[in-house]
Amino acid sequence: MADPMRIRANMTGDKVEVKALMAHEMETGQRKDAKGNVIPAHFIQNVTVTHNGKTVLSAQWGPSISKNPFLHFRFKGGKAGEKVTITWTDNKGEKRTDEATIAGG
């Protein structure tokens, strides 16, 4: 598995607020190295966030997402103490899954 993400999940009002920082080069495939060779594209293509077995967010990313992406969103239906799981897969087939426990309200 690739480098770990940092995930924070808190209750804000009746929603769960999730902030996830992912470690990824997000290379666009448009850049060239010092020798003039194209640096191959390497970026996250899919992000899935689940809670209690249900998908609460699903994203399809492309090369326009920055390096070390930061994802911040809210969803309804979660409670403190429950787990939020985030999985990403990239164009090289690498993946990473991390989970966080929702902190108190």
Partner: protein, 267 residues
């Protein structure tokens, strides 16, 4: 329709007199930076740094957990806020990275050249030093900067740093003083702090190390100075050299009292 009115409003605001618009722009940039703080990729470096600190490595297969950063072996909390400082075991003034090199040699058995190799990340290669410095700095976050300038060698380092700060040299006749001795100046869109004014130094010196978005990695004060020397077209500033550390002690004198905000987020 709503949208054209919003556009018109924005255009009118932009066209209003220069000075207030600049202040507004500054405020908005500040607000944007505050919002970004939450997603600071430096967090990832802190986590990796803590891992490396605890990892058994090198010929002696030991971790860095007994490394003395000035507050005793293994004490990381608060150490960054008092670096650089004099160390009796090496009889020199050392900063965080210099001390890490010492510990990698004495505790882990690496050769000095190995420990000092590739300290700055390049595309395709991460830097352990950047991760470790992020972790160590984070353990002093919020604390008051109190770099000691009392021991004769600390005072000497300050004096050398002072000479270096004001000395103009190289093909551009630049010294640190050329860019950092006046308030309110900038290079292109980057504000330049007046490093001899405590009000400014206290806010800026304490934001290093920082994740530099333009570099795509955390950069430390060692790298900032290396970069300054490159920008001035001076000869290469060597990693953990006496020159670099002397400049840090000089800057710290004016920055002392500020709150450690590292690792921060910069352009």
């Amino acid at each position: 329709m709503r949208i054209p009115w919003l556009v018109a409003g924005a255009v009118i605001t932009a066209l209003s007199s220069a000075a207030p618009a600049q202040d507004n722009t500054q405020k908005e940039i500040e607000r944007y930076r505050q919002l970004l703080q939450e997603g600071n990729p430096a967090d990832l470096y802190e986590a990796r740094g803590e891992e490396i600190w605890k990892q058994k490595r090198g010929p002696k297969n030991a971790s860095l957990e007994q490394c003395d950063l000035g507050l005793g072996p293994g004490v990381v909390k608060g150490a960054f806020a008092q670096l650089p400082r004099y160390f009796a075991d090496t009889d020199r003034v050392q900063d965080t990275e210099s001390r890490l090199v010492t510990c990698m040699v004495t505790l882990q058995g690496f050769k000095p050249e190995e420990a000092m190799k590739d300290p700055f990340a390049v595309p395709g290669r991460h830097s352990d030093m950047e991760a470790l410095t992020s972790y160590i700095a984070a353990e002093s976050k919020g604390m008051k900067l109190e770099v000691p300038i009392r021991h004769p060698k600390e005072v000497e380092a300050f004096q050398i740093g002072e000479q270096l700060f004001y000395r103009r040299a190289g093909p551009n006749d630049f010294g640190c003083v050329s860019c950092h001795s006046e308030s309110g100046k900038r290079i292109r869109l980057q504000d330049l702090p007046r490093l001899t004014e405590p009000k400014e130094a206290q806010k800026i010196f304490t934001t290093w190390p920082a994740y530099r978005v333009s570099q795509g990695t955390v950069r430390t004060m060692q790298h900032r100075l290396y970069d300054c020397y490159w920008q001035m077209r001076h000869p290469q500033l060597d990693f953990t050299s006496e020159t670099a550390i002397a400049l840090m002690v000089f800057m710290a004198k004016y920055a002392n009292g500020g709150s450690v905000e590292a690792p921060a987020l910069k352009r």
